[in-house]
């Protein structure tokens, strides 16, 4: 049974300096509020893992939270590049960030291997590319057919953090819409936090909904609107204008820092007040 906590208590008890942390959510249900709480609590030296380090990781990297980044696509979806991510890699600002990059298929298989408690996943991929020489993959031969395939190592983050629409009081979680790799991330990690739009007395099962039982989840924290400017299908809408705003605003280091101070550091999460 998952424990119910406030978001600030949850981050305090689950995330320590130096941890490897996966905040997942593939274009949907991105746990912005939890990421902001990590920034507010001043965590440092994190290994941040995420298939699509979009605006949330741009913010965390720009605030100096990350020592290392493991990812497969670092862009502002539909808009362009990520300026803080670029500044960290190109110029080491505000600090150098070590990177390990994969393809989406590679990252997805790495999470799935972690969830299955396997040391590796086997796939077709990476061959012929320059990526193979710059990341952690290895050729492997199928013992049955002799086919040459690619092995990718399992991902086993210290902490997984995802957002979902709702949970009941036992911490059973239901999410629907684009499911990304949230379930895999939770099952692959040592500890996990799910932030939810609302806590309900009883989950009403939805067609296509994914239920994650409370007994595989560490902590559930209520965070209404916690995926904004991403969205929680059926509850909040994606704020496409914010993604365009971010592209302009975040180009400048000072403007970025000012915006983060005003909108993240100086603003406590509602449920924590």
């Amino acid at each position: 049974m998952a424990e119910l906590m406030s978001l600030s208590d949850a981050v305090e008890s689950l995330v320590s300096d130096g941890d490897s942390v996966a905040l997942e959510g593939f274009t949907h249900l991105i746990p912005f509020e939890a990421g902001h709480e990590i920034i507010r609590q001043g965590r440092r030296e994190l290994e941040l893992i995420r298939m699509t380090p979009d605006l949330l990781y741009d913010q965390m990297i720009g605030m100096g939270v990350a020592r290392r980044l493991v990812f497969s696509y670092g862009g502002n979806p539909g808009v362009g590049g990520l300026h803080r991510f670029r500044d960290a890699i190109e110029n080491g600002w505000p600090r150098p960030v070590e990177i390990e990059e994969h393809s989406h298929a590679g990252m997805a298989n790495r999470y799935a291997a972690g969830a299955a408690d396997m040391p590796l996943a086997v796939m077709r991929g990476y061959v012929g590319t320059d990526l193979a020489a710059h990341t952690t993959v290895a050729p492997i031969t199928c013992p049955f057919t002799g086919e040459r395939l690619t092995a990718v190592p399992a991902l086993r983050p210290d902490v997984a953090i995802v957002h979902a629409q709702e949970a009941d009081r036992e911490g059973n979680v239901q999410l629907w819409g684009i499911p990304g790799v949230q379930k895999e991330a939770i099952l692959a990690s040592q500890r996990s936090l799910v932030t939810v739009e609302r806590i309900v007395d009883e989950l009403e099962h939805r067609p296509g909904g994914i239920i994650i039982p409370g007994w595989v989840i560490g902590v559930v924290a209520e965070a209404p609107g916690g995926s904004r400017p991403s969205y929680s299908l059926g509850i909040t809408d994606r704020d496409n204008d914010f993604y365009k705003f971010w592209d302009k605003m975040s180009r400048d280091r000072e403007q970025f820092t000012e915006w983060m101070n005003e909108n993240v550091l100086d603003r406590k999460h509602l449920s924590a007040t």
Binding site: P77, I89, S103, V127, G128, H134, E147, P179, L233, R238
Partner: protein
Amino acid sequence: MSVETQDKNSQEATAGEIQTIVAARRLRDTRTVFIGVGRPSTAAILARMVHNPDLVLVYESGTIGAKPFHIPLSIGDGELAETADSVVSVPEMFNYWIGPGRIDVAFLGAAQIDKHANLNSTVIGDYDHPKTRLPGAGGAPEIAASCGEVIVIAPHAKRTFVEKLDFCTTVGHGDGPGARERLGFRGEGPTAVITDLGVLEPDPDTKELVLTQIHPGVDVDEVKEKTGWDLKVSADLHTTEPATAEELAALRELLDR
């Protein structure tokens, strides 16, 4: 000609419009198309409106059979999930749908493309000390390896069409004939590169991209000038059929939604 200087109310398509329309026409007989956002998405939605109403749109976010009324800003827009026939996880998308070659056509973009249609979306400059850090691979390498065929959509510029990639993110035709077979790829690889000036297609024997089609009003010399290698021109070079009134009206209506 450029998108900016042309009158949007004109009966003639702008360079950007013709690029989108040519991409949409390619989907006339396609069952399933894999698309990212931007021009590929616009082209695929346009194809459903005008050329192929049964076309199945597949987005990387896991939405299979999405029927968006609006052009999505991101591949994860809610409308895609709400209108999809099926919504699947990322591991399922790559392992069950893309990997086994169930998707007929994939649209891809890139910051750099070479004469064998290999693509770079990782870095400009040196990998460890990049001049420009780009977003990275995303799904492109496995999509290009496995989908039935790949159509690249890119703006025609010398910095994009380069002699040598700074980084090979995605293999198109590798170093030429036989490369894909040696690597064990199941798809046919890039079959066309659609730009705002024309269409390049791989020569069947050398797998080198040659100019096969030129958009109305474009000069061959301009295309050669904006290509970073010595671009060969097909003996069968033809001019793109101008946008029909129906295509143009549908595209403009779509962009206005």
